[in-house]
Amino acid sequence: MPETSFDLIVVGGGPGGYVAAIRAAQLGMKTAVVEREQLGGICLNWGCIPTKALLRTSEINHLLHHLDQYGFTAKDVSFDMKKIVERSRKVAKQLSDGVKFLMRKNKIEVFDGHGKLAGKGKLAVTKDGKAAAELAAKHIILATGARARSLPGLEPDGKLIWTYKEAMVPDRLPKSLLVVGSGAIGIEFASFYRNLGSEVTVVEVLDRVLPIEDEEISAFARKSFEKQGMKIHTSTQVKELKKSANSVTATLAAGDKTSTIAAERVVLAVGIVGNVEGLGLEGTKVRVEKTHIVADEWLATDEPGIYAIGDVVGPPWLAHKAMHEGVICVERIAGLNTAHPLDVTNVPGCTYCMPQVASVGLTEKQAKAQGHEVRIGRFPYIANGKAIALGETEGLVKTVFDAKTGALLGAHMIGAEVTELIQGYAIARTLESTEQELIETIFPHPTLSEMMHEAVLDAYGRAVHI
């Protein structure tokens, strides 16, 4: 008979939830996690991790088609989509099993089922419609995540019109693909399918791709994607999707001009809605605004004892933000005075397309809009020794400094491995470095990271290698 009374229950075993649970266990709380699908949540099972496995595949495919550049010749290079998807699923499974192990290791009780608030400090767990457990805890964290948004006229059917979930497990490579939405999710799928050889068209309602990134990076990315043969329509709306046997015809509207485009498959990536249904919020003071739970800086909702973290709280919808919120929330509950509220401007954002995009802090435009007088630094990949040696000369590193204080307001990167590099600037921001400390930091030679140094130097008119 499992225990039913806990110090803390986390509803949802995604990256936010399981990290919160582990932190709580580390702090000596008796902790439970309720998960209705798989531990690891969307991130591990249907998001960050399996897509990275797929993108690795497409990156290798890209290299295989440029082997002569490195002195190789190879004939009859081909791939088996089934095996590619299998590998991606295996990677996801391995990590989900890893989370199971972590739960056991930390003596966290895992309940398989759907959790629903059932009165003060109570949570009812049901599995397949049947009551599975009645749990009680002083503190309950809702970490139920989010799911793809569907717009009227743009509903996925799982066969011709996909969300991320179907796009991750194709049975074969579609000849042509229409991607609706050019945020991180849309662009990653566009990049994956394009690099394997699909004809890819991206439609974005805003005036640029990756619209939350710095404008210069967006423009750079668009150019790269188009060079790879991607077709991009910005400031364009998908009005209608008409299905036939094995293809979809989309009606696009740009201003008052309409056109049609046919594609074998469509991927919808038009945003995210929070999973707030069926949680028993009705009888509580928990507020829901625009499908997201309202929580304060310590992730507490308006109902005492109920907290919410991660995607269900709102953007940025990123696993690492959820994990961090989980830790903050639990440490606050535990009364640790080292806990600090999250500064969202310090949350780095990464898109694993080709070339990769990564950023932290304010864009140039945002910085100016907030009244900062800025100093901008730039450094291109083409001028970096390591980038040339790698054969990855397409990219740019850009820094935004406050001209008065030398605060690093933002950093924006596009190019090979920038998702691994951005943490350097994130640390600089967390430590509140000024340009001086960054200038005095010794970056090893030859590395891509030297560009980060140069982009700082450039903001102060001191770039060496350009």
Binding site: N337, T338, H340, T405, E432
Partner: protein, 450 residues
Amino acid sequence: MPIQVLMPALSPTMTEGNLAKWHKKEGDAVKAGDVLAEIETDKATMEIEAVDEGTLGRIIVPEGTQGVKVNAPIALILGEDEDPKALEQVKAKPALAPTATTPSPGEPSGRPSPPAKREGEGAVAPPKPAPAPRAGNGHAAGERIFISPLARRLAHQAGLDPARLGGSGPHGRIVKADIEAAVASGGAPRAAAPAARPPAAAPLGAPSALPSYRKEQVIALAGNPPYTEVPINAMRRVIARRLTESKQTVPHFYLTVDCDIDKLLEARAAIAAAAEVKVSVNDFVIKAAALALRKVPEANASWSEDAILRWNAVDIAVAVALDDGLITPIVKNADQKGLAQIAAEMKDLSARARTGKLKLTEFQGGTFSISNMGMFGVKEFAAVINPPHGCILAVGVGEQRPVVKNGALAVASVMSCTLACDHRVVDGAVGARYMQVFKKLIEAPATMLL
């Protein structure tokens, strides 16, 4: 040869400063790390430490001297076994000149300001650079101050001495937010520094306007009982600094009056019945206090060394208790606002104060403060003036008390209010007149409509 101690620059832009105090006398032995003197500018006060060992041979610039130029020699230190006669050979000039147009007598004109830089072979010893100014009150001299690079730069730009600030970052590290909070809460140097170290305190030679024990001393004095340490956040530092400063430097006196609030309660009930708005007793107090300031403008004023500043606007700062301190959001132009508006503003301000969402302009400033402890059942109390305000009104609970009316014992709702006045600004008679007017308004709330 004697070593010159030079006037240090506390910031790259500093050209001159004041020699606030000497910690050593002529003839005192000094060793490296000893605090020699305190230097102040309009922005900050810093201690200077000795870097060499020896004897303080001569003080060139006496205590209290204003406008000492950066790099001017301020003292001479004799090395071990050095003959005091060596002092005579040093022709360093005090360089007190407040302006550049009057070079000190004997000093060759056109000489660059860093003195004696290339005179090493003469009678003058090559001057050692003055020791780096370090640490102030919050930190022991020489103790490392943990501060983020950005916070250090912001503190410098704001002219704040980081050593006086508390850090809210990891392990007490001072971060950007602490500097912003210090600036926001009036820690801004030009306003606070003169108050923190009023010239009047100089004769006493107090090493610091804020004598305060270090942790170890307090524990020892208390007899080593077990204890829990509660970290001091930026807000607590500001409360400690400003209120200590107020109690130590502002001559407080107190006036208490009892107000009969039966009519006020009736009016409040009538408003509640007629309108949708809920007006509290405190809203009436804010309104009455503001109107009374209009009628007795002498009380709506602040002290400065140059003049008493009588404020044109009546902005009432109202103390709101927070979990970890207090804050005083401001009802601006309260004399011109109706009760409903005051009630609505107070509700909004205190709600946002409790969630930390107030804007800087909403809690910085004000011309008069009110602190109400009625909800805690406090009968009456005396509050500490919140500088630069001239007065603070402390409001007690409204309760039924026996009173004498027309020679007979009766029951009335009575609220005691105590005005704390800065005697430099508000004399007893002025304060009394203010309380008279205030009492009249409270007791006949209809007159607030006039």
